[in-house]
């Protein structure tokens, strides 16, 4: 079935003029160079849109009160006229997108153009490469599995476990799909040596070459790498290999995956935890590319609407809706706006040759301002960028000082004295640093498993990679308690609080804190009040 046949078949829900509109938008988008999965638009009522938004775009999710809460909030906010969802699109093949039946026709056209932008991004951005494009089915399967567990075990029990899982579902390794951090099984040289030792063989010593320092001149070799020294290093390494190591050997970022492998979970618990982890991993690329994804879709809808699609009588409505979605709040960067402006800036720079060493080295501001080399490579460049970057790399590579000044960005911080957020700086480096910090690990704190046998008591020890901002302690302690439900033994997390190293612990009943910089004599677990 080719593209057009497919869309013919699957868009029964649209009225004739909307179908015509879709054909028009699709043709224009294709001509502009966008490359997308077939798109199925569905027309929904506002309540349905609120429901789908609460469900993360999917019509089938497992039963959980959180969806109900989100629905109430979203729908209340819509009913009071505080917010409005124009569109929703999910990363599947074919791409499913929803239109709201109360929207203006011009808005529907805008939304369609926007959706084709998203869909092109889903299909071509490499960070989405590993996601399951049949997630509609997968989500429905998850829902069915969890319903079955609920039927067997009761709502309360399953729900309490889901709560515990969800509370730590940001502790995933977002790159898990792409790389293997911990070598497993036969791929691991050390594991092979161990296996041979277990089988009673004398394990071969690893190649001596691996234990030599590099030398530039061969006559230096015997001075830099004395024979005895190399031999001793070899043996020490072998011994270390044969000794049962710490689990995990290196800090493990995928905490949920680690628990799934190592905790004594019941069948049903493992099944549910696996589901929650799979869904969290599915949604992770969207959090990783929020700025780019929204920026790309906005970049294209503005381009297509103003150049091709909008009729003269639709321009005012179009402009109003677009200005609404790209409005900036002084305390929050709008990803639509930031992404849009960055893509436009890239297009402009690569069209006029304002990049590269020569341009960067030029310190004549007037020359820079009027710089022009007829490259016309802008469009090609933005397509290339949408293919391989994620938000962190995107901002790192393309947020220039000039751009920052033009957009009027500033960095702000919390001032304890006045209890207010104050503008701290308009220095480019500081702004960029702060922005990158916010985007790293999609804005979530990074916690890693460092030891699964802490204190030789089978307790789990996590370490928080502290990057300047403290954790919110009360939440962290409760989340730790939920983690101990999964691990079934006490868990600990080392972090910092007000510049002091601290270990948060939770034994399943109550949390406690130990400051690690205190002397041994005054060490007494501080009770949580």
């Amino acid at each position: 079935m080719d593209h057009s046949q497919f869309t013919q078949r699957f868009r029964q829900g649209l009225s004739e003029d909307l179908k015509r509109m879709q054909d028009e938008v699709e043709a224009v988008a294709k001509k502009a160079g966008l490359d997308f999965f077939p798109v199925v638009f569905e027309m929904v009522k506002p309540e349905e849109m609120s429901m789908l938004a609460a469900y993360g775009g999917f019509p089938q999710r497992y039963p959980h009160w959180r969806f109900g809460m989100e629905y109430e909030q979203i729908h209340k906010s819509y009913s009071y006229g505080l917010s409005k969802i124009y569109e929703m699109v999910i990363n599947t093949d074919p791409c499913t997108a929803y239109l709201m039946n109360v929207n203006h026709l011009t808005d529907q056209k805008l939304v369609m153009a926007h959706v084709y932008g998203h869909c092109d991004f889903f299909k071509n951005n490499m960070w989405f490469g590993g996601t399951n494009r049949k997630m509609l089915d997968q989500m429905a399967n998850h829902a069915a599995r969890i319903r079955r567990w609920i039927d067997r075990l009761g709502t309360e029990r399953v729900e309490a476990f889901i709560d515990a899982c969800l509370s730590v579902d940001n502790l995933i390794d977002i790159h898990a799909g792409a790389i293997q951090r911990q070598p497993t099984g036969r791929n691991d040289l050390r594991e092979q040596i161990r296996e041979r030792a277990r089988a009673g063989e004398t394990p071969e010593l690893p190649d001596a070459k691996n234990f030599k320092f590099d030398v530039d001149h061969s006559y230096m070799d015997e001075y830099i790498n004395p024979k005895d020294e190399v031999l001793a290093r070899r043996e020490a390494a072998l011994e270390a290999t044969l000794k049962p190591g710490k689990v995990p050997e290196k800090p493990e970022r995928g905490v949920l995956g680690f628990i799934l492998e190592h905790a004594p979970l019941h069948d049903w618990e493992a099944d549910i935890l696996g589901i929650i982890r799979a869904e969290a991993l599915y949604f992770a690329p969207q959090a990783q590319t929020k700025i780019m994804n929204e920026g790309w879709a906005t970049f294209w809808h503005t381009k297509l609407m103003t150049e091709k699609l909008a009729h003269a009588n639709e321009i005012v409505q179009y402009a109003e809706s677009t200005s609404g979605t790209t409005a900036m709040n002084p305390r929050q960067l709008n990803p639509y706006k930031l992404g849009l402006e960055l893509f436009r800036d890239i297009e402009m720079r690569w069209d006029t040759g304002r990049h590269g060493r020569e341009f960067d080295a030029c310190d004549d501001m007037e020359a820079k301002r009027t710089w022009f080399v007829d490259e016309r490579g802008g469009l090609e460049k933005v397509f290339g960028v949408r293919q391989v970057y994620n938000d962190v790399q995107f901002v790192d590579a393309f947020l220039t000082e000039d751009f920052c000044r033009r957009q009027g960005f500033f960095a702000y911080g919390y001032d304890k004295k006045s209890k207010q957020f104050l503008i701290e700086s308009r220095q480019f480096e500081e702004i960029k640093q702060k922005l990158l910090t916010q985007l790293t690990n999609f804005g979530q704190p990074m916690l890693e498993v460092v030891d699964s046998n802490f204190d030789n008591r089978g307790e789990l020890l996590l370490a928080h990679r502290h990057t300047g901002a403290d954790l919110q302690m009360d939440w962290a302690e409760t989340a730790l308690g939920n983690l101990s439900r999964l691990w079934k033994r006490p868990v600990h997390a080392e972090t910092q609080l007000g510049g002091r190293p601290v270990r948060l612990s939770h034994d399943g009943e109550k949390p406690s804190r130990t400051f690690l910089d205190r002397k041994e004599s005054e060490k007494s677990p501080k009770k949580e009040t």
Binding site: N170, Q332, L333, K416, S418, E424, T478
Partner: protein, 367 residues
């Protein structure tokens, strides 16, 4: 399609109800909810219902855009999050949940085990309401029921044999016309009036008034759920009594002496003139610190109660708010005069924490 989420919404509401029930005592004693009352619902802050996560504290700052110099403010934590007051410490995201007054009353009734009130039989009045659920052969053209008229004409033509299927023209005559019409629907309606009386003499301080205010909120909530129509009236008194509106009631402070009988007299006047006791369920509530000017006035009060008030009301409730100035004698006098009378309900409220117990006393009789 929409029904899918309803299960989740219901579950969420159940959890909310559970939380409210668990913390009901806290809510009842600190009066926080009163300011959050809208017309049909109360907005309740629930701090613990979101899923806790590892995340950064709220005070980390970030990047924004706009005008301003270094050192200029861009707002306070919690701005734009809609929480009523700044929580303890930064980053307290409080979830506000709207609960209807009826639901709140239901939770309260279940938790305090309040019996439902049996209104007095002959006090029911019958309210008449017009409902357009009838069809009549006469009426104004604007209410003509076209489908019925057409059917009527069709019937007539078929039975008269003038209907031609190949040329189905229907011509209604005057007698075919049908009109929408109304029927009088009578429904017993049970109305209640609460008359709040409060001593505002110098010895009643702000703390005492706050307790009364909290009690009044919960009494309103419960009685409103029991009756179709609920009215509230307010009387303040020192040596003289006068009727005031709700705001004045809770904010006035006078300094004179205290003559409780003045309030009871005004209350009776109000009842006799506006709320015939055959038709109304009447609840006088009196709050005081128990100090009356003289023994003779107290005797007047007892006489007023026995002869005039008690025969007409569902229950007379007296709440004595402890204050450091009052002698607190009045409640003892009442106890002495009406040792066995079910219609007199007395409660001593020592402090905020006693509010819940006192409401249970007042409303627990089911009168």
């Amino acid at each position: 399609m929409i029904s899918k989420i309803e299960g989740d919404v219901r579950r969420f509401r159940d959890i909310v109800r559970g939380r409210i029930r668990r913390d009901l005592k806290k809510y009842m004693s600190n009066g926080e909810m009163i300011g959050r009352k809208g017309k049909d619902f109360v907005s309740i802050p629930l701090p613990q219902i979101q899923l806790p996560r590892f995340r950064f504290g709220d005070n980390e700052g970030g990047v924004g855009a706009g005008d301003g110099d270094e050192g200029d403010s861009v707002g306070e934590p919690g701005d734009g999050e809609g929480s009523g007051k700044a929580g303890q410490g930064a980053g307290q995201h409080i979830l506000e949940v709207d609960v209807t007054i009826e639901e709140l009353a239901e939770i309260m009734g279940e938790e305090l085990e309040l019996p439902r009130i049996e209104p007095k039989g002959e006090r029911n009045i019958v309210a008449k309401k017009d409902k357009y659920n009838r069809i009549a052969p006469v009426g104004p053209d604007s209410l003509k029921h076209f489908r019925r008229t057409y059917k009527r004409a069709l019937q007539r033509q078929i039975s008269a044999g003038t209907y031609d299927p190949s040329n189905p023209v229907i011509t209604p005559q005057r007698s075919d016309n049908r009109y929408r019409s109304w029927r009088e629907d009578s429904k017993p309606e049970r109305n209640a009036v609460i008359v709040y009386m409060m001593d505002v003499s110098g010895s009643m301080g702000d703390a005492q008034k706050e307790i009364v205010r909290t009690e009044a909120f919960w009494i309103d909530t419960w009685l409103a759920s029991q009756y179709d129509g609920l009215e509230t009236r307010f009387i303040i008194h020192d040596a003289q009594a006068r009727e005031v509106d709700r705001d004045t009631f809770f904010s006035t402070r006078e300094s004179g002496g205290t003559l409780i009988s003045s309030a009871y007299k005004l209350c009776m006047k109000m009842i006799d003139e506006e709320y015939p006791h055959q038709e109304w369920n009447i609840y006088p509530f009196h709050f005081s610190d128990g100090d009356n000017w003289s023994g003779s006035d107290t005797r007047d009060c007892m006489r007023l109660l026995t002869e005039d008030m008690l025969p007409k009301v569902n229950a007379f409730c007296y709440g004595q708010v402890e204050s450091e100035y009052g002698s607190g004698q009045f409640i003892n006098e009442l106890k002495k005069s009406f040792p066995e009378d079910e219609r007199v309900i007395l409660s001593r409220i020592e402090n905020r924490d006693a509010v819940m117990e006192s409401i249970k006393t007042f409303l627990g009789k089911g009168r």
